[in-house]
């Protein structure tokens, strides 16, 4: 019984996480209103981060790729109707998140989750904006503004969600356990 590079577990988890990413994009549930000028923060990249953290860089990369492909296929604005902007940077989200997690989990599980969420989010934000500037969809000045106003709230939201989701699944008991009701 030898399984290939992608075990059944990795295949199924990559698939399920991709399905969530697709669903978040489709329902607009992936856009969270935040009190910044940008108005919306995206969390559609969170499944890719979770994939990287839980199952490694390959799964993280696959989830990001499928998320990128669907955002490209379903895009209705020029910037994301360009595979170099919509797909390329997304492949890396789960990979960088995994690297951050793998490097830090021995130090502290909780810290590793927060940092990997931040790194994954930054990969998405910086990657997409860099490609957008390179491809001429955005002036560098605009990109900086968007990056700062989106980036920070997205890091916070992604970190909260990543910790909550991984903890819920691994039943890691984080923080104090007393119901406030």
């Amino acid at each position: 019984m030898k399984e290939g590079t992608l075990s059944v577990r990795k295949i199924v988890l990559a698939a399920v996480l991709s399905a969530i990413a697709i669903l978040l994009g489709w329902t607009r549930l992936g856009f969270i209103p935040v009190p910044t000028p940008a108005g919306n923060a995206t969390i559609m990249h969170v499944p890719a981060i979770i994939g990287g953290v839980m199952e490694g860089g390959l799964v993280g990369g696959l989830v990001g790729t499928l998320f990128g492909l669907f955002s490209f296929l379903q895009a209705t604005v020029p910037m994301f109707k360009d595979p170099l902007v919509a797909v390329l940077p997304r492949i890396l989200i789960g990979v960088t998140a995994w690297l951050a997690y793998a490097g830090l989990k021995r130090v502290n599980e909780y810290l590793a989750l927060v940092v990997s969420a931040a790194v994954g989010t930054l990969t998405n934000t910086i990657g997409v904006l860099t490609m957008a500037v390179l491809r001429g969809y955005m002036a560098p000045g605009v990109a900086w503004t968007v990056g700062l106003t989106h980036g920070l709230p997205e890091i916070v939201v992604a970190a909260i969600l990543t910790v909550a989701i991984v903890a819920a699944w691994k039943r890691v008991e984080t923080g104090r356990g007393e119901a406030k009701m």
Binding site: A164, A167, A168, W169, R171, G177, A179, K180, M181
Partner: protein, 601 residues
């Protein structure tokens, strides 16, 4: 086809298994199982949740491997990794949740998944898929998407996908527990046919009627086989089964109780037919004895009038009123499906009302209108405690507080990390002060049977299935609703947890005066809990009235895809044979009284 000859196809010796063997003193899930399964037999495995049934099932096809002892399939040791594939080819397995075992988005491609894994050549691959689709009656759905099928149909697709691999043994791991009576009948019919054609069946089940279908039954408790034998032998030990909390078929319990009152009554009955035979036999015996002038032991029993008291007409204040309700999903798209076609319903304060019907009959759509999740469209009207829900100005949040709705598999609807916080979720949304919240949470937890101090700080995801349901129920109860709607919230539970939940609901309704609307595929549960019942079929009310009157119409119910509780069927069959039965008994207690009267007259 009970043939205990020949070589066993599956053989376990001293099989033990522990989920975390590294941890000292960890409780093993299986301890020293010795079991042989013979070719062609139909083996039923029963036991309540946590008894080790599913763990055992997963050993049959090497999804789990023994930590001690051995398991052999066709003589192959499952601990040997090289044997895994051969073992899995021999033993096919159908799981509990239909949705979670289908891989592809086209029915025939899903059925082909297993045979593809076996690397079958093209021609055989197509023949197998063809054969499996025909066998399960799914051929006409071959190009459909699984998620547009009913649960019963999905489970038949799963079954087709497994039998297409032509296993010698088919293991059903609670494969019918999530299906409605019709879906269950369809799946079991296929299983029967496979068994007749020589396939060995191992059915893990909570349903005692299904267990009675077997050639042999084993009962597990705490990882050990505690009873084993033919269904007749096993079910004759009603006392033991009761202490094991696995339950027995209703007719078996009925026969057992009657036998206690009159030792002349045959103590064992597995099917309705056998029980009816036993009643006739006893009556014949008695009339012979009576003519011989020996009227001995039979007198009037201290008749406990069982059953539900309907609310007195004076108290019948209408709380929920539905008139001519229509609803269609995906209105105006090619996928539009009409769900309700003019439904009317009325529920009075303090009543317990049942809504039954086959899958897709519109039950869930109807109850979602009762708390404003869906709004009535012209000409339909829904009134809740005098508020008209077609009025868009009505405050739905207040309506939802009055009408609590618990969905199917409520354990999937816990949102918070800690149990106490989850139950307080709705109260917080209402802006209730903290001290009061705590009191309410405490009350709600007690009402469902969760100890406040023990459970309030537990993690929701660490609860057992039964505890999760109780927590979800408490979350709705905490809002102190006037009406509690349970939308198939008791299905899939093991008999013990179901019993506990039903008892809690009975107390809430009878003693606290909580109005109940109970949607359930279990006719037995409905019979026990509610006073009136509505039968939905194809978006219309097909039958309605006091539960006894409705369950007396067995033929009509079958036409609407439903059955009746076994006791109801017994009464019906006895009458067909010209034997008078008083009233419309539906529960075991009522049945004992009614039949005792028949026997004594």
């Amino acid at each position: 086809m009970s043939i205990e000859i020949g070589v066993p196809i599956i053989s376990a010796r001293g099989l033990s298994f522990s989920y975390n063997p590294q941890v000292q003193h960890s409780v093993p899930a299986l301890r020293g199982i010795d079991l042989d399964v013979y070719p062609g037999e139909y083996l039923a495995v029963i036991g309540h949740n946590g008894s080790g049934k599913s763990t055992l099932a997963k050993h049959f096809n090497a999804l789990l491997r023994p930590t001690a002892g051995e398991m052999r399939v066709m003589g192959l040791d499952t601990r040997e990794p090289a044997n895994t594939l051969a073992v899995r080819r021999t033993v096919g397995m159908v799981f509990q949740v239909p949705d979670n075992q289908l891989v592809a988005s086209v029915v025939e491609e899903d059925v082909a998944f297993g045979p593809e894994n076996l690397g079958l050549p093209d021609k055989e691959l197509h023949e197998r898929v063809e054969w499996a689709l025909a066998l399960t009656g799914m051929a006409e759905y071959r190009h459909r998407q699984p998620h547009r099928l009913s649960a019963g149909q999905k489970q038949r697709v799963a079954l087709a996908g497994v039998v297409a691999m032509r296993p010698k043994v088919l293991v059903l791991d609670e494969a019918t527990s999530m299906l409605d009576p019709e879906g269950r009948r369809e799946v079991l019919a296929v299983v029967r046919r496979l068994n007749d054609e020589g396939m060995t069946i191992v059915a893990i089940t909570h349903s005692m009627d299904e267990a009675a279908m077997g050639d042999r039954v084993i009962v597990l408790e705490l990882g050990r086989i505690v009873l084993e034998g033919t269904p007749r032998q096993v079910f004759s030990d009603v006392e033991t089964l009761r202490t094991l909390q696995v339950g027995v078929p209703q007719v078996t319990e009925l026969a057992f109780e009657l036998n206690k009152r009159d030792p002349a009554f045959p103590p064992e009955a597995l099917t309705v037919g056998e029980f009816v035979g036993a009643v006739e036999e006893t009556m014949a015996l008695r009339s012979r004895q009576a003519s011989a002038g020996e009227r001995g032991t039979f007198g009037q029993s201290p008749a406990v009038q069982a059953g539900q008291s309907l609310p007195s007409p004076a108290a019948a204040e209408p709380l929920l009123q539905v008139h001519n309700l229509h609803h269609a999903y995906l209105r105006g798209t090619p996928l539009e499906t009409v769900s309700l076609r003019g439904v009317g319903l009325e529920v009075s304060r303090g009543e317990a009302v049942g809504i039954i019907g086959r899958a897709g009959s519109g039950k869930s759509t109807l109850v979602q209108h009762l708390n404003g999740l869906l709004r009535p469209r012209e000409p339909g009207r829904v009134q809740v405690a005098g508020h008209d829900l077609s009025n868009l100005g009505v405050d739905v949040r207040r309506i939802r507080q009055k009408v609590g709705l618990v969905f199917q598999y409520p354990e999937q609807q816990l949102f918070e990390r800690l149990v106490g916080d989850d139950i307080a979720f709705g109260l917080k949304k209402l802006g209730m002060p903290r001290a009061q919240r705590r009191e309410r949470v405490c009350w709600a937890m007690t009402a469902v049977g969760l100890d406040f101090e023990t459970f309030k700080d537990r993690y929701t995801f660490s609860l057992s299935g039964g505890e999760m349901r109780k927590a979800a129920l408490a979350g709705v109860l905490a809002l102190r609703p006037e009406v509690l709607i349970l939308d198939e919230s008791t299905s899939g539970l093991d008999p013990r947890s179901r019993r506990e939940l039903l008892d809690r609901l009975l107390v809430l309704n009878r003693e606290e005066g909580l109005t109940l609307v109970f949607v359930s595929p279990s006719m037995e549960d409905v019979a026990e809990l509610v006073g009136r019942v509505y039968v939905l079929d194809d978006g219309r009310v097909a039958l309605s009235g006091p539960v006894r009157e409705v369950f007396a119409q067995e033929v009509a119910l079958r036409r609407h895809g439903l059955g009746v509780p076994q006791i109801g069927e017994v009464a019906h069959r006895l009458r067909q044979r010209g034997i008078a039965v008083e009233g419309e008994p539906l529960t075991v207690a009522e049945g004992v009284e009614a039949i005792w009267k028949t026997l004594s007259s």
